[in-house]
Subunit: 124 residues, 2 copies
């Protein structure tokens, strides 16, 4: 059974979360082996928080859980792609649907993803 | 003007390439500051090859250049998302449209991306 190559990245691999319905790329975080196993076991996205140095069940505080539709691995097996249903309609801790809300196009930067919630209310 | 936080990742940030038309996630590679600047200047995806330790113009050998439609940054400014037109119809050096061609769903692994070319012909 394919497995990410955790050794290559000193125990971590990047994991992209993509909206399974719209195709929008929602965020990128990191997984260690424990996060990978829990994601497959539970059907909910788990990551490894580098800043907090711990396992991170996405949506544990906000309720914005990511339900797994499928899991993909790349050709080098050093990156994970999760196709998910994003509960609450937003992945970003700043309230945007996607963490990738700043876009550069035709020489100018703009906001390209809708703001779905107020972080001060959700994380208060 | 927003810039990736290269210092956070020891000079590199992950960069996701996504098909601008279909939304398919094609690959993940890494950028250093030079690759970032050349991508914006030329309108073609440039990465930093960790294995070859050099700037990498995507498609330089295969012709499978990625034309930039837009560039996005995430909330932490430590990941880049490129929306691209993938020339030749395939991003993966193994000949698949997407590097993420192995999919785990409903308890089984399968191939989820079409094979577009024969690597032995393209890289001979």
């Amino acid at each position: 059974m394919p497995q990410p190559d955790f050794a290559k990245g000193n125990g971590l691999v990047p994991a992209i979360a993509q909206d399974a319905t719209t195709g929008e790329v929602l965020m990128l975080a990191y997984m260690n082996e424990d996060a990978w196993n829990r994601t497959l076991e539970t059907g909910e996205a788990h990551y490894y928080s580098r800043s907090r140095d711990c396992l991170w069940r996405k949506g544990g505080t906000s309720g914005h859980v990511q339900k797994i539709h499928s899991v993909r691995l790349d050709c080098d097996q050093d990156t994970v792609l999760l196709l998910v249903e994003q509960l609450g309609g937003a992945a970003c801790h700043k309230g945007y649907k996607s963490c990738f809300y700043e876009e550069y196009k035709d020489g100018a930067w703009s906001i390209c993803s809708p703001k779905v919630f107020n972080p001060e209310e959700v994380y208060s």
